[in-house]
Symmetry: C2
Subunit: 336 residues, 2 copies
Amino acid sequence: MFNTAVVLTRRVVLVTYLALALVAPARAQTDPLPSWNEGATKTAVVDFVARVTREGGADFVPAEERIATFDNDGTLWSEQPMYFQAAFAMDRLKAMAADHPEWKDRPAFKAVLDGDPAALAALGEKGILQIIAATHSGMTVSTFDRTVRDWIRTAPHPRFDRPYNELVYQPMLELLTYLRANGFKTFIVSGGGVEFMRAWAPDSYGIPPEQIVGSSGKAEFRLDGDQASLVKLPEIEFIDDGAGKPVGINHVIGRRPVFAAGNSDGDLQMLQWTTLNSGPRFGMIVHHTDDAREWAYDRSSPVGRLDKALEEAPRYSWTVVDMKADWKVVFPFEKK
Amino acid sequence: MFNTAVVLTRRVVLVTYLALALVAPARAQTDPLPSWNEGATKTAVVDFVARVTREGGADFVPAEERIATFDNDGTLWSEQPMYFQAAFAMDRLKAMAADHPEWKDRPAFKAVLDGDPAALAALGEKGILQIIAATHSGMTVSTFDRTVRDWIRTAPHPRFDRPYNELVYQPMLELLTYLRANGFKTFIVSGGGVEFMRAWAPDSYGIPPEQIVGSSGKAEFRLDGDQASLVKLPEIEFIDDGAGKPVGINHVIGRRPVFAAGNSDGDLQMLQWTTLNSGPRFGMIVHHTDDAREWAYDRSSPVGRLDKALEEAPRYSWTVVDMKADWKVVFPFEKK
């Protein structure tokens, strides 16, 4: 009888142990950042996350304050040979041109329709902004959303011959997931158009529409019978770039981030706003150093220029990611 | 031996049952809306929530799309005898007046400093906006935040002689909690200043800063040595009221709500934008009908005017809450 009791008690212990093993949160024994090479960069990230999540530790940050903001172009996906939203705008311009014979008389529009990138480049940023205004207005927000979804599914990137949203960075996807698993709320804070991003970024990054901050045009509410719509107007509402990024963060998020990642001088002020604060803070710059797998550019690049922010990085203790050295793979499709 | 095994097996079953009872989500047997009287209003809310959360049902809405937006003034807390933010602005005007002798020459400012509400009223909304601009700018966002926190802790409401944030509506607090327990993400979408609300609303409503949408002034990023700050400027950035509410929702949230609650004509377009859409939608109007416990006002009130939205309610099938009939208590302090 004693023996039976012992056996049964053991069985109870075993069953309880197994039940607890199923119920208890799995301890991650696997590397949460498998596409990051071992080294100072990866260690800095992992150490930071360990410090801010250690309850009772000196650097503990409550979960609700773990706000992480990520630039998009050049930080979460590629931005060469031109911002992908500019490629979208040019494709739209060509698609819409038949209905707009007057566009032939506007230099920027003509440059695109004639396939003359040099003429467009000579017009500078103003030309691109005119094209974006014309192709991003005059329709409802839901029609625009559908147009972006169709484009991202079908238009091929000129170098990689793949849909643009396949050019997201595998190591950054892992970083987003890793931060969220540690209680961070991840946001995009981009100079790109907020409605352009919302059409594909939630699926690509696991970041919901309400956690995407970006540039925007004005919109107008219209009621036609029992049809309510929001129509996009050709006027700029807000440019979420440079010194506009802290303003956009304050306006939409209302908290100062503890983690920020960028790749260009357009992210300088977001990084300053994030890291020039008391308590533990992390600033990350993605430095494009890999011409073979992606692109190599910084100080003299017309797109994604990284000059002052790179120069200031040591002074502010920002972590500079060397894409070539730190990343095992760049894009998800390399793993296949 | 057999008996011992049976006893032990029973014990295993009992322990397992108790363990599961602890682990399994508690079935709410208690009324989640105890401050709402039984009746058509409460039934409409409960039925709607049941329909959109029933997996496989015709009206099921995935959790990530369960966006609920709430006006603040007059919907979640009181707004009489004047918007509470206007009371804050006037208190600030008096506190700051010693440093601004020139204010004596401005009619709206003089009216407040002389304690002459009739003179201020004669100046209309313009006077209040001037006072808000002057008292809500020229400091950093963090200084402004501290000022609001101090005020809300100490300033007494003239009728109830309590801090203003005790004048939140108990039934609406229950509704917010009930919706969140059913997978909804609750947002404030208010004509009030977003930074004014963020200083106290998270504690009062359980809604985090990043889920508060409101009117805003412009701000400017400044770097002074290693000191980064955002300074509030005396210029309006966005008015989140009337036709501005759908625009603000689209800009910040990026999804069309399935549930919206308001109390005035300033909420008309938010209610239209929410409910004039396919699928299950809920529009709620809080009608102030209780002069004894709160206030009774609608069509002719200068603050919180409810005219067109009340007239349109039946046509759009919006649920009109009769505060007097539908609410057992109005304020949390009545329960004590």
